[in-house]
């Protein structure tokens, strides 16, 4: 259950990273298809990361001489990570939900006061969440796995931005 929750949070993060990376790079008015593709790319990126993390986790679990202990330690770390990631996700989702309100002021306020700052602290939340998860772990396997997942999570937005940047450059060079 804990792993499933982390997996779903990773997909949600990927979706939002995909959207963020695509914003400000396409100037047409009707962009539903463009954003759908961007969201799909983000989710696909998160899926790749989740798969890599799962493979690493299974490898560690299969090769460790003390499997039961590793499993218990990893579960403990994952549970602790949720204490950081779930409130953050709740804040993001509740502010996105507020954007459904029929008021331009409320919608804009969510950007200025919440979604903007929440975007700014995303890397910090990632680092704090993973470190909070692994700080009381007893096994080096859990520490290494936690660090590996953190690097993957932080690299997702970078990779999506890099790809979107290349696409934008191509577009602009076709225009001018």
């Amino acid at each position: 259950m804990t792993l499933l929750a982390l997996y779903l949070l990773a997909l949600l993060d990927g979706l939002l990273c995909g959207l963020r990376a695509s914003m400000g790079r396409c100037a047409v008015i009707r962009k539903r298809g463009y954003y759908q593709r961007a969201a799909f790319l983000g989710v696909a990126g998160a899926q790749i990361i989740s798969t890599l993390a799962l493979v690493a986790l299974l490898t560690v679990a299969a090769t460790s001489p003390h499997r039961a202990e590793v499993r218990e330690d990893l579960e403990g770390a994952a549970r602790r990570m949720l204490w950081v990631f779930l409130p953050y996700a709740f804040l993001v989702l509740s502010n996105l939900a507020l954007r459904l309100a029929p008021s331009n002021d409320i919608r804009s306020a969510t950007s200025v006061f919440m979604l903007g700052p929440l975007t700014a602290i995303r890397p910090v939340v990632m680092i704090v969440g993973v470190f909070y998860g692994i700080y009381s772990s007893r096994l080096v396997e859990t520490l290494l796995l936690g660090m590996f997942v953190l690097v993957l999570m932080l690299s997702l937005e970078f990779a999506l931005n890099w790809r979107a940047d290349r696409w934008q450059e191509r577009e602009i060079r076709q225009i001018i």
Binding site: G24, I29, D105, A109, G116, I175, I176
Partner: protein, 295 residues
């Protein structure tokens, strides 16, 4: 970028001249932004500058989308149009966006407003040919019923019933602001509304934070913050408008959020023929409280 004031032809810009200009006002951030711009034999590379401008304007459109600027323009525009119609004008109402850039406001209206029902014509105007070409390309791509023209928005051939702009008016200061506003006095012009940053204590800090988060290019980050810092307050705008447009009633719309002391990021300078004022107030309905003194 520099244009010949008469022909609107592009003039080559020496990079060192730009750096010197920013050195004189000790603007280190601007110097860093200019230093990164590509050059050819000491002159800014025109093609690369054009590409850079597109990047910056695409980013700026993102902010307009995030703050629902199209909705805000239409919220005011439809009230102004209704007031003009009530006064008896039956011909097609031409709306001119002054300094439209890549024309987000006009294209948003063209994509979202039933133009035939309102009988309006949408025109975006800018002195920059690159941005106008891009605006026309984007409009064609989506088959939007609007057009964009490079030229002087206040010339006789392009004059409109309603003039609007976004983030333009702070570029005019002192006597230039008076001249800019004074040029709205044309026989067919009924109303004007200009959206711009509202200056207040935290505006430069807020603009810095938000542009740092949302913008990717150094130029866009710097320009956004500078615009917030240079914005005119409501009093300056209304006093200038009242001085040079005596036939128009002028005021500020949407300065505060929900009648609280909290300022909106943008406020709007409104001006309209005095005969329209009463109906305009009536048409605003519950939004009437957003309107400051209109005289």
């Amino acid at each position: 970028m520099q244009h010949d004031a008469r022909t609107l032809e592009r003039v080559k810009v020496r990079k060192q001249d730009v750096l010197d200009a920013f050195s004189r006002c000790s603007n280190a951030q601007a110097i860093r932004a200019v230093e990164r711009l590509p050059e050819q034999r000491g002159f800014l590379d025109e093609k690369e500058i054009d590409r850079h401008l597109l990047r910056v304007h695409w980013e700026m459109q993102r902010l307009a989308e995030e703050f629902y600027h199209g909705h805000r323009v239409w919220e005011l525009l439809r009230v102004v149009i209704a007031s003009i119609r009530h006064a008896g004008l039956r011909e097609t109402i031409r709306i001119v966006d002054v300094g439209c850039g890549i024309g987000y406001g006009i294209r948003w209206l063209a994509a979202n407003v039933p133009l035939h029902d309102s009988s309006i014509e949408l025109v975006g105007m800018d002195l920059n040919g690159t941005l106008i070409n891009e605006a026309n390309r984007l409009a064609t791509l989506e088959e939007l019923p609007c057009r964009f023209v490079q030229g002087d928005a206040f010339s006789k051939e392009h004059s409109g019933h309603i003039f609007t702009s976004t983030g333009v008016i702070h570029h005019f200061r002192g006597g230039e602001l008076l001249r800019f506003l004074g040029r709205h006095e044309q026989p067919e012009t009924q109303a004007l509304f200009h959206f711009d940053f509202q200056p207040w204590l935290l505006a430069p800090v807020g603009a810095w934070f938000f542009h740092y988060l949302r913008m990717r290019t150094a130029l866009a980050r710097h320009d956004g913050v500078l615009s917030a810092a240079r914005a005119h307050d409501g009093r300056t705008l209304t006093e200038a408008a009242r001085e040079v447009l005596p036939e128009f009633a002028s005021g500020i719309y949407g300065a505060k959020i929900w009648n609280t002391p909290a300022p909106r990021v943008f406020h709007t300078l409104i001006g309209m023929r005095r005969a329209l004022v009463e109906e305009f107030r009536r048409q605003l309905g519950r939004r009437r409280s957003r309107l400051g003194e209109l005289r």
